[in-house]
């Protein structure tokens, strides 16, 4: 199966590992990711106001291109996924936004949210299947106690993101089990790391990060995984006294599949 793939700005720069391990793992699993041509930065935050049109255009351009190339668009960064998924729903359900965006972009055929947006984790769960993933593991991560950190953007608002239960998610824990690792449950796994506030007030980010890492540490985690470059930055760089290694989930995936070195 071929999928269009949207890496996003940070995966080309500070989060190259998130991208690289994802690509080598997908190849090993027989999932063909084809990077979109000339994609533009999604904007990193979903523009909530009804009258924000220009800030939604780059997401629509990616979605419209994916529609022409088979109709399935895979995202990886939590922020890109959040923005592209929600803008797609606007194009399906909000006539005001749909009309104005199409008037502005003037595509050959009007875009009305036809593309299916899949996060890489959903690709593994819903298209490949975690059972199948488990069969492909060559280096089971036996005895590794890993805390899955969801943050905000993958899960909320659940009505729109539709990935998992926003208060008791399990997609990352099921992913870890498929790799042979031991997921560690802890209360702060779906609480916000502070996100962009780090540019405004590091202290505010640190306060959040300390609670998250303390919570994960108390539960016995030896490392934390995330899908978000900004979460990784905050958890790794803006931590106070509590510190844990923070990894992209794709790094563990590549390790378990035996493709980490060649990535």
């Amino acid at each position: 199966m071929n999928y269009s793939y949207y890496p996003g700005c940070t995966l080309k720069t500070k989060a190259k590992e998130l991208d690289r391990y994802a690509r080598s793992s997908a190849e090993k699993l027989g999932l063909h990711l084809e990077e979109l041509e000339d994609w533009q930065c999604c904007g990193a935050v979903y523009p909530q106001a009804e009258d924000e049109i220009a800030t939604k255009l780059s997401a629509v351009r990616a979605l419209a291109q994916a529609k022409e190339k088979g109709g399935k668009l895979v995202t990886l960064c939590s922020a890109c996924h959040h923005v592209i998924k929600r803008v797609n729903l606007d194009m399906q359900n909000n006539e005001y936004i749909r009309t104005r965006v199409n008037n502005y972009i003037a595509p050959d055929a009007p875009y009305a949210g036809e593309t299916q947006v899949l996060h890489y984790l959903e690709l593994l769960r819903d298209e490949l299947g975690f059972e199948q993933l488990k069969k492909s593991v060559v280096n089971p991560l036996k005895g590794r106690k890993i805390a899955a950190y969801y943050g905000c953007m993958l899960l909320r608002p659940a009505e729109e993101m539709g990935m998992d239960d926003p208060e008791n998610p399990k997609i990352l824990e099921d992913f870890l089990r498929a790799l042979g690792a031991e997921p560690v449950l802890y209360p702060y796994r779906n609480e916000c790391c502070g996100g962009y506030i780090a540019l405004e007030d590091k202290g505010q980010a640190r306060q959040n990060v300390d609670k998250i890492l303390h919570s994960a540490s108390l539960a016995g985690a030896e490392a934390v995984i995330t899908a978000c470059p900004l979460c990784l930055y905050n958890l790794a760089q803006n931590a106070g006294k509590e510190r844990l290694p923070v990894l992209y989930f794709t790094e563990l995936l590549a390790e378990a599949l035996g493709v980490k070195e060649e990535a």
Binding site: T10, T13, E50, T55, A198, Q204
Partner: protein, 131 residues
């Protein structure tokens, strides 16, 4: 500076947020869930009540809207689907859509750069804090 009257500001906020503030039953779950509660001069439930009451200028004069993390905890946990984060965003937009009122200027970015700071943080902050 030209000030619109509060009734017009209230209408603009309701229109661009598409929030029905009358659905709120004042349970406080939004503010109870908010990870930026301590930093916000006005808390999420107060944004809902103040917009409902037309008390807009106080919200515009406060920096509370810049402290919101847009984590959607308030939105997710609201039993009445009020979506307070959209009101906070609308207030923030009313502030920064005025000429010269950007909260974060591109000139301020170089001093904030660090080796590990992801592009995503800069893009997100500029989108949230400036027009």
């Amino acid at each position: 500076m030209l000030h619109e009257n509060e009734r017009d500001l209230r209408e603009t906020i309701l229109r661009i947020s598409a929030v029905d503030v009358r659905k709120c039953m004042k349970c406080g779950k939004c503010s109870g869930s908010c990870p930026a509660y301590e930093q916000m001069e006005y808390h999420p439930h107060q944004f809902v009540a103040m917009v409902d009451n037309g008390d807009i200028q106080a919200l515009l004069d406060s920096d509370a809207s810049f402290k919101c993390l847009t984590c959607y905890a308030c939105t997710e946990r609201c039993p009445r689907d009020v979506r307070p984060a959209r009101l906070v965003e609308a207030v923030r937009l009313l502030k920064i859509r005025k000429q010269g009122q950007n909260h974060l200027k591109p000139d301020a970015i170089p001093a904030k750069l660090e080796a590990e700071l992801p592009q995503q943080a800069i893009v997100a902050a500029l989108r949230k804090y400036s027009k």
